[in-house]
């Protein structure tokens, strides 16, 4: 009898799980889904370091920061003259034991058409094997063609990397 009751409880709980799965399918676009989970001991891909390269002109680095999820970085710099630029070297490391592939690299910036960015040394679908690291550069430039802007511009650029397991 006790086992029968437990089977009924198990059935009821499984029904709750099914409802949750259906709810996910129905409302997936409304869920707050951000970034990639780090699962200790198996999956650990993160930004290891950001080094400021030599700025050109009067560009100056204010600060760089790696956010808590360790796949989002922020670059803050100041520019005084069109043509100023600053290049950062980013190192991303795979400390898990599964090979990873870059799914996406997304930049967000404040809407100032005077500031442009570019990156070099990394491409979508690049592989990052376990225990290895990769370096690439991010360059932020004060558009040389711009003529009307404040005397000093401060720009904060955010970069988000998305990695996933390389398909078997």
């Amino acid at each position: 009898m006790e086992q029968r009751n437990k089977n009924i409880i198990i059935g009821g709980l499984l029904a709750v799980l099914v409802v949750m799965a259906v709810g996910y399918a129905a409302f997936a676009t409304q869920l707050n889904i951000n970034g990639i989970a780090n699962i200790e001991s198996r999956w650990d891909v993160h930004i290891q370091s950001i080094d400021e390269g030599s700025p050109s002109g009067t560009a100056a680095n204010v600060k760089t920061d790696v956010e808590q999820d360790r796949l989002k970085a922020m670059f803050e710099c100041t520019f005084k003259s069109p043509g100023d630029s600053i290049t950062y070297t980013v190192e991303v490391k795979n400390e898990g034991n599964l090979n990873a592939v870059l799914d996406n690299i997304v930049f967000s910036e404040e809407e100032n058409p005077a500031i442009t960015y570019s990156y070099d040394g990394i491409n979508i679908s690049d592989e990052l094997p376990a225990t290895e690291s990769r370096q690439f550069t991010v360059t932020v430039t004060y558009n040389p063609a711009v003529t009307s802007q404040p005397a000093v511009i401060t720009e904060a650029l955010t970069m988000t990397l998305s990695y996933s397991q390389k398909e078997a």
């Binding site: 006790e2 086992q3 437990k6 089977n7 409880i9 198990i10 709980l13 499984l14 709750v16 799980l17 949750m20 996910y24 869920l31 707050n32 889904i33 951000n34 970034g35 990639i36 989970a37 780090n38 699962i39 200790e40 001991s41 198996r42 999956w43 891909v45 600060k63 920061d65 790696v66 956010e67 808590q68 999820d69 922020m74 803050e76 400390e95 898990g96 034991n97 599964l98 990873a100 094997p129 376990a130 225990t131 990695y163 996933s164 397991q165 390389k166 398909e167 078997a168």
Partner: protein
């Protein structure tokens, strides 16, 4: 006992090979082939050595049913946490062949490991010593030694790794060993499959930080232990109703509720969150080592902020708690705040926007932040 020692020696050999001889991530097909083959070999040895032992236990199906109930409740509560903390995508490939490969690589070895554990734990002599030995061996066997020492590159990383990975691994393995003792290999297999398989099958996981992961990593095995111990004792010991009540999981429910509430309070899922004060910039209002309780504000409440309020705001990845000394409007009519620490000579360098403001200090608790101050001091 002799057979158990032979198995222990073989598991130690596996740990040595895995940690010192080879670098698993650099061996082709290590996860898919080499590692499972090693565990299959150990399992065959365990079968041969325990041929004359009985691995079935009394009341197995009742305990299994009880465990399944607990684990389904855990899955439900775990994924409901995503509605509070948000979700993250799992990093594993969703290609069907990759899913099957992952399940085999990381789920398949669970069967072999738990069969070996169950055969090793069934000894008549030196049970306590054997229990501890089996727990330690399987903790080490399930530890990833890839870049192990990189996790201790600094005090902060080491603390986080110890709290969110090492301690839960030790506690879990202690509970697995206990489950193997009272219920054979089936109980720890059920537990581990419920915890491991969702990562490979479900596309999203709750977005828990290391603290949340640590709390769950310790609380879940303890909850399973409390309940399964009660089920085991109820069936095997001839206790009176009064005596068996002390093993009842109901006794521990208030403990788990308090743990959940305190963890939720510290993580900040409630309206009020405690923050340790690490600098003296707001002295004498509050000092380094005090804690302030911050009331989180929504957009409408931020519009009510006035000069003199002490606010917590985000500055990059750090948070600052200073007093509002001026309120201005930018060219778009948005409020910005000029802030200053009571003990600072000048105002903070940059104006603070409403979006940067997290909340307002509600009240101060003296001295309670000192453990965080000491830990932060060790980290820096």
């Amino acid at each position: 006992m002799k057979k158990s020692l032979i198995m222990s020696a073989l598991v130690i050999l596996y740990i040595i090979i895995n940690s010192l001889v080879i670098t698993p991530s650099q061996v082709p097909f290590y996860n898919e082939l080499i590692n499972p083959m090693m565990w299959i070999g150990l399992c065959v040895m365990a079968i041969l050595l325990s041929k004359d032992s009985v691995l079935r236990v009394k009341d197995e199906s009742n305990k299994t049913q009880s465990l399944i109930i607990v684990m389904i409740i855990y899955i439900i509560l775990y994924f409901l946490l995503g509605l509070i903390f948000g979700f993250q995508k799992t990093p594993y490939s969703k290609n069907i062949f990759s899913v099957i490969t992952n399940i085999w690589s990381f789920g398949g070895i669970i069967f072999f490991q738990e069969f070996i554990r169950a055969s090793m734990i069934k000894v008549e002599h030196k049970r306590k010593f054997n229990f501890i030995l089996v727990t330690i061996l399987f903790t080490l066997a399930n530890l990833s030694f890839t870049n192990f020492f990189d996790h201790f590159a600094n005090v902060k990383e080491g603390f986080i790794y110890t709290v969110s990975t090492l301690i839960p691994l030790i506690v879990s393995n202690g509970v697995f060993t206990y489950l193997a003792l009272i219920g054979g290999p089936k109980l720890p297999i059920v537990y581990r499959l419920f915890v491991t398989l969702p990562e490979f099958v479900v596309p999203i996981l709750p977005n828990l930080d290391w603290f949340g992961t640590a709390i769950i990593g310790v609380t879940l095995p303890l909850a399973v232990f409390v309940y399964l111990n009660y089920v085991h004792v109820k069936k095997t010991e001839r206790f009176s109703k009064r005596e068996s009540r002390q093993y009842s999981p109901a006794v521990y429910i208030p403990v788990f509720i308090v743990i959940a509430l305190v963890a939720g309070f510290v993580i900040g899922i409630f309206k009020y969150q405690p923050i340790a004060v690490l600098s003296g910039s707001m002295s004498p209002t509050f000092d380094r080592g005090d804690a302030v309780v911050v009331e989180k504000l929504n957009k409408a409440e931020k519009r009510e902020l006035k000069k003199g309020d002490i606010v917590q705001y985000a500055s990059g990845s750090q948070y600052v708690i200073h007093r509002i000394v001026e309120i201005e409007n930018d060219v778009y009519g948005n409020r910005t705040f000029i802030t200053k620490g009571d003990n600072n000579n000048g105002n903070d360098l940059n104006p603070v926007s409403s979006d940067q403001v997290v909340g307002k200090v509600a009240f101060v608790i003296k001295y309670i932040g000192y453990p965080s101050v000491w830990l932060s001091g060790m980290v820096s």
